[in-house]
């Protein structure tokens, strides 16, 4: 009984690896399929937004996964496929948007905050020393 509870607990902690991808989508060539999976992980599901198309069950995600596989089989390179999707849906379709003027704040905010933190520490230390 204790073991069953333990196994159940472990299973609850480790979510089951359920794939949204359907068997008919999978390419027979495992190398190409791996490429497709890796590409899909970097493409945002536009109708769910916080998921990649690799994780999403939506119709659009399914269609995008299919078109990625079609283009891989056609011999297109990863960059060409990404560029095609960006051309149709914009940079927003990428899970990691590239660095450009509109995403400046997004990419730079962690550095800005750390920098501000250092300034605060510097001045507070300076103040404490001068008081001592």
């Amino acid at each position: 009984m204790r073991n069953i509870l333990l196994i159940s607990f472990v299973l609850l902690l480790n979510p089951l690896n359920v794939f949204s991808i359907e068997p008919d989508e999978i390419l027979s060539d495992s190398k190409l399929e791996n490429r497709a999976r890796n590409l899909s992980k970097g493409i945002r599901c536009l109708v769910c937004q916080n998921q990649s198309i690799d994780d999403s069950d939506s119709e659009l995600a399914k269609d995008l996964r299919k078109i990625i596989r079609i283009k891989i089989v056609e011999g297109k390179k990863d960059k060409e496929i990404n560029d095609f999707l960006v051309e149709k849906y914009g940079n927003f379709i990428l899970m990691k948007p590239p660095f450009y003027s509109e995403t400046f704040l997004l990419w730079s905010s962690p550095f800005i905050i750390v920098f501000i933190g250092f300034i605060i520490i510097f001045f507070s230390l300076k103040k404490t020393r001068s008081e001592n």
Partner: protein
């Protein structure tokens, strides 16, 4: 007093960051459609389409010279039923090309019988590839194309009376329709 001096820069920084975030978000809200519509102000991505009954090719370039509208729809899409009457009204002003999206052909014909057929031509996108080519998120979605074959408006969602009045008609007026 010491605490006040220590927290003052923090409060100022917080206020600056809040203002930046607010400015960024309000910009996004204001330009919601333009941010998502990368095909806006670009030529139509598809020049020819296969008709619903598969017996002919629809040459979209034949429509060049005067504006037209492209509408992605489906019989299983509830909002498509909502916009049907407004599309009928629009069809009196501008030719509409319908693209039946991931539907059974029989269901598309039944849908048109029931809710009316505002389309000059109807094409069939069985696997969703045409929709991806047009950067479509889902149905219904409507594009206005000007006389030069350039997409001048993309409207995701149904053409409600409000959208018709405040979004579509002003653009048609602008292009003298």
């Amino acid at each position: 007093m010491k605490k006040f001096i220590f927290f003052t820069p923090l409060i100022i920084i917080f206020l600056i960051l809040s203002m930046l975030l607010f400015a960024l978000l309000s910009q996004n809200i204001g330009n919601k459609k333009t941010i998502n519509s990368v095909l806006l102000n670009k030529p139509i991505p598809t020049k020819t389409l296969l008709s619903l009954n598969l017996n002919k090719l629809i040459d979209l370039e034949m429509y060049s010279g005067s504006p037209f509208l492209v509408n992605f729809f489906s019989s299983w899409c509830e909002p498509c039923k909502l916009e049907a009457s407004n599309l009928e009204k629009l069809s009196e002003k501008i030719p509409i090309i319908g693209i039946s999206y991931k539907d059974q052909k029989e269901d598309t014909y039944l849908f048109l019988d029931k809710y009316g057929n505002p389309y000059d031509e109807i094409s069939y996108d069985s696997d969703g590839n045409i929709a991806i080519n047009w950067g479509v998120y889902g149905v219904p979605e409507t594009f206005i194309i000007n006389k030069n074959g350039i997409i001048i408006l993309r409207h995701p969602g149904p053409i409600t009376t409000n959208v018709l009045k405040n979004e579509i008609i002003p653009i048609l007026d602008e292009i003298n329709l």
